[in-house]
């Protein structure tokens, strides 16, 4: 489909100032500064987190107020020489084109994006050159930065009007996403959009990118789809991955979720195994699902520590276990942490004790621990119980504690 051939962030880039969502105060301040030629500061520094509309505001205002943008961003070298070569000519004349009268341009506007990215060595003298240009400029000079507090930018702040941008509020982002969904014919659950918006942390650009990548495959977007959303700040937790896994409606969805999540495979496999009987009540379904989890475990074993290209088969088998029967899903409480870990924790003392006993038997009877456990312990337990003969205890070098332990120990 053609609709995917263009990035939505490009397609829906704000054309007018009013299209930019949020940051009303910053927008107003900037517009006022741009129109007021008698402002006491010749330059403006827009600062704030990424994706909130700084560049968009500059582009939109240029369009609205008929400026031609001369832009230098982090991809250009911004040494003193370079700044002078590009910025000086651009700022030293006003609206020459106006002679013709055919265009309405009010002249140039110098836009230095990402000024916090001016590198120390390669862009030597860049900042002082900018200051000089600001002082001599006949046209508006606009700068944008994420972090205005970098020491080398401090001189700039003296000659600039500071305009602060904040994170865009979640409801505004949701509204925008809804609008885009409408235009792109995407049927999206509100919860899904909400999750995308929250996940973006006020970064509109990333929210739109996420929306596009998630609804790329089909025209629907459910909450489950967003489970695989790679949070830009924190990883998907075990619980979230489990929830997403068990609520997945297709093998593809579960598989995608697994490839996005970065939970530990072994822990996750155990957790899935623990929770499987809660998910599938019917023995036939449970057996089928367990068979697939077991296959996945086999693939996990083959991966070992080096054959990571086999990971896709592991995902695939595991994902199949998530959708043995999509209809039978009912919400349930997860068992966590893994039963195995809990069990082993509470029984560690017992195992150690039994282990020592078996080692003592092994030393006397020329057998391994395992053989001692299987072939001797059940008999010795009964013998000690029936005949309180201390001789055998002495011969095997058991302590009183170990004798008591054997007496109390249940049969296996």
């Amino acid at each position: 489909m053609l609709r995917n051939e263009i990035l939505w962030v490009e397609k829906y880039r704000p054309k007018k100032i009013q299209d930019i969502i949020g940051n009303e105060e910053a927008k107003a301040t900037f517009a006022e500064w741009l129109q007021n030629k008698h402002h006491n500061k010749k330059a403006v520094l827009l600062y704030g987190p990424p994706g909130v509309g700084k560049t968009a505001l500059v582009n939109a205002s240029a369009k609205e107020y008929d400026f031609t943008i001369i832009e230098m961003n982090a991809s250009d070298t911004r040494s003193e020489k370079a700044v002078n070569a590009v910025a000086k000519p651009a700022t030293s004349y006003k609206a020459l084109d106006n002679f013709s009268g055919t265009t309405k341009t009010r002249g140039n506007m110098l836009f230095l994006d990402e000024v916090d990215g001016i590198a120390g060595n390669q862009d030597r003298g860049g900042v002082s050159a900018i200051i000089k240009i600001v002082e001599e400029s006949l046209v508006p000079v606009i700068m944008a930065a994420n972090d205005p507090d970098i020491s080398k930018l401090r001189p700039l702040k003296k000659v600039c009007l500071l305009v602060r941008f904040q994170q865009v509020r979640i409801p505004l982002i949701i509204a925008l996403l809804q609008k885009i969904c409408l235009l792109e014919h995407v049927k999206a659950e509100f919860e899904a959009l909400e999750r995308i918006a929250k996940n973006s942390r006020g970064d509109v650009r990333s929210a739109i990118n996420d929306l596009q990548s998630l609804s790329e495959q089909n025209h629907t977007l459910t909450l489950q789809d967003t489970m695989m959303l790679r949070s830009r700040n924190k990883a998907l937790s075990m619980d979230e991955t489990l929830r997403g896994f068990f609520t997945a409606e297709s093998i593809g969805e579960a598989s995608r979720l697994l490839s996005y999540s970065n939970v530990n495979y072994d822990d996750f496999l155990l957790s899935v195994s623990d929770n499987l009987p809660k998910r599938y009540i019917d023995p036939n379904e449970l057996a089928k699902a367990y068979n697939l989890v077991s296959q996945a475990d086999v693939f996990r074993g083959r991966i070992g520590t080096e054959n990571w290209h086999l990971l896709k088969y592991f995902y695939n088998e595991l994902a199949k276990a998530a959708s043995v029967n999509n209809v039978s899903y009912k919400p349930f409480e997860f068992i966590s942490p893994p039963i195995r870990i809990i069990t082993l924790f509470w029984t560690k003392g017992k195992r150690t004790m039994l282990n020592n006993i078996c080692l003592k038997i092994g030393a006397q009877c020329h057998v391994s621990k395992e053989t001692a456990k299987n072939d001797f312990i059940p008999f010795i337990k009964v013998i000690l119980q029936k005949k309180k003969s201390s001789g055998l205890v002495d011969w095997l070098k058991f302590t009183q504690e170990e004798v008591d332990f054997l007496a109390k120990m249940s049969r296996f």
Partner: protein, 335 residues
């Protein structure tokens, strides 16, 4: 009889000290005795066979024959399943095998007995192979294993292999009677029959059962006591786990599984082995059903060796059992 003697485990007390005392196993003993006459000609040995058939006994008897009462000074006995890593091979075995003992008596080599060495890891076996070659002037190995197929071929080719089959029923009964006589116990014939039957060719198991049964009543072992012992010694939790699963109570079955793992530290493959054994003892299953279940067990036993996590494979097997049990139930309902 001295009280001290009485206190031993009988399997140790009546373990033959030299090759002549070994009953049964005639062919093996004859060939080994030929080596004993000219010890320098003795190759490395591999003793393979099911448990309780006399492999360790033969190995220890050889040590006795070679070195006499001081055998422990010249013999390194390792239970490979407890110490099966490559570190053990490289450190303890290598050091022991290198040290020439030609100064001590007629035997120019030391003896290294590796028990249950089919449990050794692949890398450890590979390391062992070299050591066997380099150290053959100063040491001889006796490798003991259940399945010779689990030993890498280069090692097999360096050994004279002796295979042990299960102890003959009559030989076992004779042995039990012989021990009973020495212990002043009247062992009733039906009781002997039951023990031999239960032991399935594993003499160690049989002797342990006899000793346990003798603890019940002074001076006599009858069939009833033997049945009691067999009941006590059977893996109760494993049976419970199987039953729960077959009755469709998967959650409880799995809980029991974790009881077994947690309290006794059994490995996954050990539990599967016990499950297999118990299934065949269950009287309420038809032979066809046992065969079906056995097929399932075999599949998951194999996956266990391939997989990463034994808990998952065991759980999956129990889930299969639940399904099997449910389908049985439905079949009965239809009829």
């Amino acid at each position: 009889m001295a009280t001290n003697e009485e206190t031993l485990m009988w399997v140790e007390k009546y373990r033959p000290k030299c090759l002549d005392e070994v009953v049964g196993l005639k062919d093996i003993v004859e060939s080994l005795k030929a080596f004993m006459k000219k010890p320098k000609t003795m190759p490395h040995l591999m003793l393979a066979g099911i448990p309780g058939t006399g492999k360790t006994t033969i190995a220890l008897a050889i040590a006795h024959e070679l070195y006499g009462a001081n055998w422990k000074n010249f013999t390194l006995e390792l239970n490979a399943s407890d110490e099966r890593g490559i570190d053990t091979v490289r450190d303890r075995i290598k050091d022991f095998s290198r040290y020439s003992r030609s100064g001590f008596g007629d035997i120019p080599f030391a003896l290294i007995i590796l028990d249950e060495c089919d449990q050794m890891t692949g890398p450890a076996q590979t390391a062992l192979r070299r050591i066997m070659e380099i150290g053959s002037r100063t040491s001889r190995f006796i490798l003991i294993c259940n399945q010779s197929s689990k030993i890498i071929e280069p090692i097999q080719s360096r050994c004279a292999i002796f295979r042990f089959s299960r102890v003959d029923l009559q030989a076992m009964k004779d042995q039990l009677q012989c021990i009973a006589k020495k212990e002043n116990i009247s062992l009733l014939p039906e009781a002997t029959e039951k023990i031999a039957d239960y032991a399935e060719g594993d003499l160690r198991h049989a002797i342990n059962a006899l000793q346990t049964a003798s603890a019940y009543k002074e001076g006599i072992v009858d069939e009833k006591t033997v049945l009691l012992v067999i009941g006590e010694a059977s893996p109760m939790l494993v049976q419970k786990m199987i039953r729960k699963a077959l009755y469709g109570d998967f959650i409880d079955a799995r809980k029991t599984m974790y009881d077994i793992i947690g309290n006794f530290g059994f490995s996954g493959s050990e539990i599967i082995r016990q499950v297999q054994r118990e299934i065949f003892k269950m009287s309420d299953l038809t032979p066809e059903q046992k065969a079906d279940l056995s097929g399932l067990i075999g599949e998951y036993d194999y996956r266990l060796t391939q997989g990463a996590n034994s808990d998952i494979q065991l759980s999956a097997l129990l889930a299969q059992f639940s399904k099997f049990g449910k389908n049985l139930e439905e079949n009965y309902a239809e009829k």
